[in-house]
Amino acid sequence: MTLNLCVLTPNRIVWDSEVKEIILPTNSGQIGVLPNHAPIASAVDIGILRIRLKDQWLTMALMGGFARINNNEITVLVNDAEKGSDIDPQEAQQTLEIAETNLNKAEGKRQTIEANLALRRARTRVEAINVIS
């Protein structure tokens, strides 16, 4: 049985082809998905999506959204997604540092929450690069 993965963002299709296995970051922890998985609809957290093609693992930074698994079709709808190999390490590291300083500067509940989210997004991007290397 083949497993098809489709990762969509509002702006473009990031991934649309066959995979062997994926590990999906959900709000309640990571789930591994192999062929013939039970139908499932799940919220996707900000985190790293791991994709296995034969023996090679790829990573993708996901920025929150939804996933639907049915009939060996995985559809992941996210606000934004980037392949680990497409992220510029320097730029990601810089963004992470900016996010950290912003969090320290943040005042009030709303700002803190937003800064926290930004930090998580930045951290995910950095992690997505580092997994490969």
């Binding site: 489709c6 969509l8 963002t9 709000n27 309640s28 499932i40 919220a43 639907r68 709808l77």
Partner: protein, 321 residues
């Protein structure tokens, strides 16, 4: 198309004096004695203004064409995200609920054919269909043009209106903030988004997408109606199922909105392009007519003068010496 109408109106107003001029030329012998030539100044002025209008419409067509190209690819890309939602949650325009919200997407600028009036018309129909003794329907309006039309007769039903959407290039972040705004300010059981789906440069399909509230989704799924399929999915990743459904509905709404706004922007540019094309053509036709009249008048006055000179000369010839 609006421009075309203007031109046509202008044309009608114009043709009369010209025809009057013309007929006075034809019946030259009945003209008051001594009026040999008629001033062509009026016709020349008209020709100049028509030429200027044609230049403007041509330029607007070019601008619309280049904007269309930019927005079209993005509209096509945004279709991908909207389809999985329809596959999961379905699109159920017939769902009968109490609180309906009609989201009318229109443009801020005019001169783009009938796309705005089409969405307004469809919105009115939806409003009428979903009104009843214990039901209520509200409008949420995006864009200046639909606002102007709906304010006239259903001001009390307008819950929220947002304009100047396209000041910056449309992006998903902006639209999702906007969608959040709408969800925060409006109570709904079903959102019906009315927009013009871009089919080709000359074809736009007025479309309604329905987004149901999480409660309605849950109810429909449990009763095993059209959404019964949703129950076969295990819902993962949150504290409760309703929390997930809430997030899902919000995400769906922002994605559908994003798609709707892009499709509508695309249709707007397409419609403007064809409207401006036809008004340039109309201006050309009018210019041809005016040129013809102008040349005829000129020729007629030349002929008259020649006749006068020749007959004067031949009259003199009759007297010898």
């Amino acid at each position: 198309m609006a421009m075309a109408a203007v031109l046509r109106r202008e044309g009608r107003r114009l043709t009369q004096p010209i025809n009057a001029l013309h007929s006075s030329l034809i019946s030259q012998d009945q003209a008051p004695h001594g009026s040999r030539s008629i001033s062509t100044q009026v016709v020349r002025n008209r020709m100049k203004s028509v030429k200027n209008i044609q230049k403007i419409t041509k330029a607007m067509k070019m601008v619309a064409a280049s904007k269309l190209r930019a927005v079209q690819t993005r509209a096509e890309n945004s279709r991908g995200l909207w389809q999985p939602f329809t596959a999961l949650l379905g699109d159920n325009p017939s769902t009968d609920v109490k609180k309906n919200v009609v989201v009318t997407v229109s443009s801020d600028k005019g001169l783009c054919g009938g796309i705005n009036s089409t969405s307004v018309k469809i919105s009115r129909v939806l409003h009428k269909l979903n009104s009843g003794p214990d039901k209520e329907t509200k409008y949420v309006i995006l864009g200046e043009k639909a606002k102007a039309q709906l304010v006239r007769d259903s001001k009390k039903d307008i819950e929220l209106s947002l304009t100047e959407l396209q000041k910056n290039p449309l992006n998903y972040t902006q639209v999702s903030v906007l969608a959040d705004d709408i969800l925060k300010n409006v109570e709904y059981d079903a959102l019906r988004i009315v927009f013009n789906k871009f089919h080709s440069v000359v074809q736009f399909l007025p479309t309604v997408s329905t987004v149901l509230s999480p409660e309605v989704i849950e109810r429909e799924a449990e009763s095993g109606g059209k959404l019964g399929e949703l129950d076969s999915y295990e819902i993962e990743g949150g504290e409760t199922k309703s929390e997930i459904l809430q997030n899902l509905a919000e995400f769906q709404f922002s994605c559908v909105m994003y798609n709707a706004v892009l499709e509508n922007a695309c249709s707007e540019q397409g419609a403007r392009m064809s409207a401006m094309d036809s008004s340039s053509r109309n201006a050309g036709d009018m210019l041809d007519r005016l040129t013809l009249t102008y040349n005829r008048t000129r020729q007629a006055s030349i002929t008259t003068e020649l006749i006068e000179i020749i007959s004067g000369a031949s009259a003199l010839e009759g007297f010898p010496g």
